[in-house]
């Protein structure tokens, strides 16, 4: 098989040092008609500068409302192998850890039913299997699920939660990101597989303010690890950084956003009351500075992409919460958030958009959080604000 199409345009993209997706498609095309027709259609897109995919139809596996993105070529006669070309979202394990054995099993089954192409991983976090037909969906699902692998989310549902590597390989993880991610994924299995929300709901967990999973920018509920007490300083290690040539004044002291550090060439001092725990000094001097010991997370809500009134970054709603397995307090809060959203949102309205429409107050009241200054960057500017009956007591 393979080689049905001349692909002079795509061939250009096999040149150069970065690994080539074209090479990958060609590899698969040697074995599957699907991949070969995919290659042909993409080449055509490169010539005409447009895609040839129809809107997705609803396809899936029995009892599930999501996990598969239906996709059909708009040129099925020209490219019959991709007349159906659905993607299957396999829910990745927390932290994207695998063994060769597990991965080989996944690949073997995929070669049996699909194009031989994958996305490792999708932007949300799923292990994306790229291209199969409607009739292959059921057997494929049976094979995977019987071996302990389930589908991820799609549609107006809980979406596959995702997290940074956290405590598995990072000294700064204030929370057990992988366990939290796994726990919420398991807790929301029903909502993940059976779309019943107003729109998508995403959860992402980062172990510290570095936010290596971009939680604050692309999760309806962003969970970010932090601490409350003082940064621990190892002065001997500070000295080693200085000796190794670090310009501590310029690189650390002057870049501290709260101006709460000082270094006189010998001793580093931090006025911890002023520190906003931004992680800069710790990240750049990991041997010398350690976070405090009272650890937990900040919960932020609402981020999303720009459609339709501009992107949102998540907003702080719970400045600090301790998170210990099995994370019941977190699940309880997430339930309340989702319930309020579900009760109030229009279709295709994300939770951040709903808060913007309704205001923070009803949301905070629904999740039983008091107003605190940490929730705002600055207070309101205009003199127009609501009063509730309860304010008059």
């Amino acid at each position: 098989m393979g080689g049905k199409y001349k692909t002079p345009m795509l061939d250009e993209l096999e040149k150069g040092p970065w690994p080539s997706f074209v090479t990958e498609i060609k590899k698969a095309a040697k074995r599957t008609q699907m991949a070969d027709d995919e290659l042909g259609q993409v080449e055509k897109s490169y010539v005409t500068k447009r895609g040839y995919w129809k809107h997705g139809g609803i396809v899936g596996v029995l009892g599930y409302g999501g996990g598969v993105i239906g996709r059909y070529s708009s040129l099925p006669d020209e490219f019959p192998g991709i007349a159906h070309f659905h993607t299957v979202r396999l829910n990745q394990p927390s932290g994207f850890f695998y063994t060769a054995e597990a991965l080989r099993m996944i690949m073997d089954i995929w070669d049996k039913y699909g194009s031989g192409l994958t996305n490792m991983h999708g932007s949300t976090g799923d292990l994306v299997l790229l291209g199969t037909t409607t009739e292959n969906l059921e057997p494929l699902f049976a094979e995977y699920s019987s071996r302990g692998w389930d589908l991820g989310g799609s549609g107006s549902a809980m979406r596959t939660p995702s997290c940074c590597v956290g405590q598995a390989r990072c000294e700064w993880a204030c929370i057990d990101t992988m366990n939290i991610c796994n726990e919420v994924t398991q807790y929301y299995q029903d909502q993940l597989h059976r779309p019943s929300f107003p729109y998508k709901f995403k959860i992402k967990v980062a172990g510290c303010a570095c936010d290596c999973v971009a939680a604050i920018a692309r999760a309806d509920l962003s969970i970010i690890g932090t601490w409350k007490d003082n940064i621990r300083i190892d002065q001997a290690e500070v000295k080693k950084y200085a000796d190794a040539g670090m310009n501590i004044q310029a690189e650390i002291i002057d870049m501290c956003p709260t101006d709460c550090m000082s270094y006189d060439g010998k001793t580093m001092k931090i006025n911890d009351v002023q520190c906003n725990r931004c992680m800069h000094c710790i990240a750049k001097m990991t041997k010398a500075l350690k976070q405090g010991k009272v650890k937990g997370a900040t919960l932020l809500v609402g981020s999303k992409a720009p459609i339709v009134v501009g992107s949102l970054l998540s907003w702080v709603v719970v400045p600090f919460i301790e998170l210990k397995a099995p994370f019941d307090n977190l699940k309880d809060l997430a339930d309340k958030m989702i319930e309020w959203w579900d009760d109030n949102a229009k279709p295709r309205e994300r939770i951040g958009e709903l808060i913007e429409v309704k205001g923070m107050r009803p949301f905070l009241e629904a999740i039983e959080m008091p107003p605190v200054p940490q929730q705002v960057r600055e207070p309101r500017k205009d003199p127009f604000f609501f009063w509730s009956e309860s304010d008059f007591n």
């Binding site: 345009m9 005409t48 500068k49 447009r50 063994t99 060769a100 991965l103 970054l313």
Partner: protein, 356 residues
């Protein structure tokens, strides 16, 4: 051949199954790490155990063949353990230092790109493009390949003032993290959609279609049983096309990409930031998008030459001012740069102090 018994709602396998023993042992007990080379680092546990990571670039679209090859490497050097990163790179996890160099040698021989750790670029977060999405107005994978080829040294060797996060989204749905990236590409339309009245009438719910437009440009047209679009108000977001396919927004000659800059997600030093518009339009130039690649290279070079150590792209620009960004990069400032949407109030300059 009978199928095995299907299960439902079991969720993903527990991650513990896939953790290397050294990780299990030191879970939550890492003391510090050191970046050894642009593609390797070591994490040292409180008790002294050392975990070596070797990071390898990936095109994200991987064939099962390549994945099997990666599995072979993992078995040879890491007892079969490996992981992927949140930016789609592959990480080999080694507990035995002696195996690091042989692994690197084999990776080199097999032409893998090793790098992406520390203050440099890493893999480009991106999306489906013409490979799989009906909504795409560019190809993501091709753009990424062309950009990464050009910037390859910044992945494998060269250092920058800080990490530079790149992203590509093939339409304004922005399935990548374009809206908060240091430098990113987002594909856009520039022409009002063309309406296929007959099919709109047949296939679409008119009220939903009308409601889908963020600028209220769409009105029902009772005569045609379709809709009309007010050309003055349409800003080509494609949301109507998403809910009603016969509203064709694709226009191969006029579609193209915009470049946005200065976003970030971490809270280090400064608040997370949205990306802002740098270049409103560059035409699609498959297969290698030379103008787009050159534009990104230019921005990256100007940043590298002007930012202070540890400054992210957005932090550098905010320090020197956007006036300087446009001056230093030579990018022309156009009407499109001026916000006339949600954030207009906060982005107009309301101060008598600015630079020329």
């Amino acid at each position: 051949m009978s199928l095995p018994e299907r299960q439902t709602d079991i969720g993903p396998p527990h991650y513990e199954k896939f953790l290397p023993p050294i990780v299990k042992k030191n879970y939550g007990k890492w003391a510090y790490h050191e970046v050894l080379t642009p593609g390797t680092m070591v994490h040292v546990a409180e008790g002294g155990d050392k975990l070596y990571t070797v990071r390898v670039g990936s095109p994200r679209i991987l064939s099962t063949d390549t994945i099997r090859e990666i599995c072979d490497l993992a078995e040879k050097y890491c007892d079969g353990y490996l992981r992927f990163t949140t930016r789609n790179n592959v990480e080999f996890l080694l507990s035995d230092q002696k195996k690091v160099d042989p692994l690197l040698a084999e990776l080199k021989a097999k032409k893998y790109s090793v790098g992406g750790i520390g203050p440099r670029i890493s893999n480009i977060v991106h999306t489906q493009g013409w490979v799989h999405c009906h909504s795409a107005c560019t190809d993501a994978s091709g753009l990424v390949k062309a950009i990464m080829d050009e910037l390859h040294d910044y992945f494998t060797t060269k250092a920058l003032p800080n990490k530079v996060r790149l992203a590509v989204a093939c339409c304004v749905n922005m399935c990548g993290a374009v809206h908060c990236s240091d430098i990113a590409v987002v594909a856009i339309h520039r022409k009002v959609p063309v309406i296929d009245d007959v099919n709109v009438g047949k296939m679409c719910e008119i009220p939903t279609t009308v409601a889908s437009c963020p600028t209220s440009a769409i009105r029902p047209n009772p005569k045609t049983k379709s809709i009309t679009i007010n050309e003055e108000k349409c800003m080509y977001c494609g949301n109507c096309f998403t809910v009603c396919p016969p509203i064709e927004i694709h226009n191969p000659e006029q579609d193209g990409v915009a470049i946005v800059v200065g976003g970030k997600v971490g809270s280090l030093r400064t608040n997370p930031k949205f990306s802002k518009l740098a270049i409103p339009y560059i035409p699609n130039e498959p297969p290698r998008w030379p103008s787009t690649v050159a534009a990104i290279k230019n921005i990256l070079d100007v940043y590298a030459a002007n930012a202070k150590k540890h400054e992210r792209v957005g932090e550098w620009i905010e320090r020197v001012g956007w006036e300087d960004f446009f001056k230093l990069t030579g990018i022309p400032f156009t009407f499109q740069h001026i916000d006339d949407f949600t954030f207009m109030r906060d982005t107009m300059r309301n101060s008598a102090a600015f630079k020329y």
